[in-house]
């Protein structure tokens, strides 16, 4: 079964830790991987999901490329791939 790396920044890093990994069944999508991850942490579900849908203000990257919530429903990560999650940015 593929092991997927999940990296978090800012508020999400404080809540979930900076780098985690999770093993998911084959053919699990990015969204499904994050749902499985969220179920392992009490704080995660409310922060990341509204029902079964990823919250719209969460920024996602898959292997360092930005994706949206619709992409997350179709992309199937492979073993060793990286998903990054972070809240809205505030640089400058």
């Amino acid at each position: 079964m593929p092991e997927i790396i999940i990296r978090s920044f800012a508020k999400f890093r404080e809540l979930f830790g900076g780098t985690n990994s999770i093993t998911v069944p084959p053919e699990t999508t990015v969204s499904g991987t994050l749902l499985a991850f969220a179920k392992t942490r009490s704080a995660s579900m409310d922060e990341l999901f509204s029902g079964a849908e990823l919250k719209s203000n969460i920024i996602l990257m898959y292997n360092r490329e930005r994706i949206d919530a619709e992409d997350a429903k179709t992309i199937i990560p492979a073993d060793g791939d990286e998903i990054v999650i972070y809240p809205p940015v505030s640089g400058g």
Binding site: F9, A10, K11, R13, I59, M61, R64, V84, Y86, P87, P88, V89, S90, G91, G92
Partner: protein, 132 residues
């Protein structure tokens, strides 16, 4: 052109001197700094550095294309910054002031909406809110 994230303070004079060319009729420097809002004594700035640096390169290329700039330098700091310290410097060169001003404004707005950098307020040893 310098497009980077760093912890160290920024030598703005050196940046201006190194960037200027005989094509420039104007240079505009934007400096973002840590404002005292009365309820904090420092900022912690977190960045996803490799992605942020790629984004700075992309934004720089966009601005050069869009406004015909002769040069773009962007340096954004991260780590703990005290009140009054410099957070970011954006230096643009152009043939004329209007392009330089517009290019500078474009770059800071794109940076604030896109680049993975976050600010957290610090008060003593207490970590406060993430700024949005």
């Amino acid at each position: 052109m310098v497009l980077a994230l760093q912890k160290e303070d920024i030598d703005i004079s050196a940046l201006i001197k190194n960037s200027r060319s005989t094509k420039d009729g104007a240079q505009v420097v934007f400096i973002g700094c840590v404002r005292d809002d009365g309820n904090m004594d420092a900022l912690e700035i977190e960045a996803f550095v490799p992605v942020a640096e790629k984004d700075l390169r992309d934004i720089s290329a966009e601005a050069i294309e869009k406004f015909g700039l002769t040069s773009v330098d962007i340096i954004h700091r991260y780590g703990r910054l005290e009140l009054g310290e410099t957070i970011v410097v954006i230096l643009v060169g152009a043939g004329h002031r209007s392009e330089a001003y517009e290019g500078s404004r474009y770059i800071i707005e794109r940076l604030k909406e896109k680049v993975p950098i976050w600010k957290q307020e610090l008060s003593g040893n207490t970590r406060g809110e993430w700024v949005h």
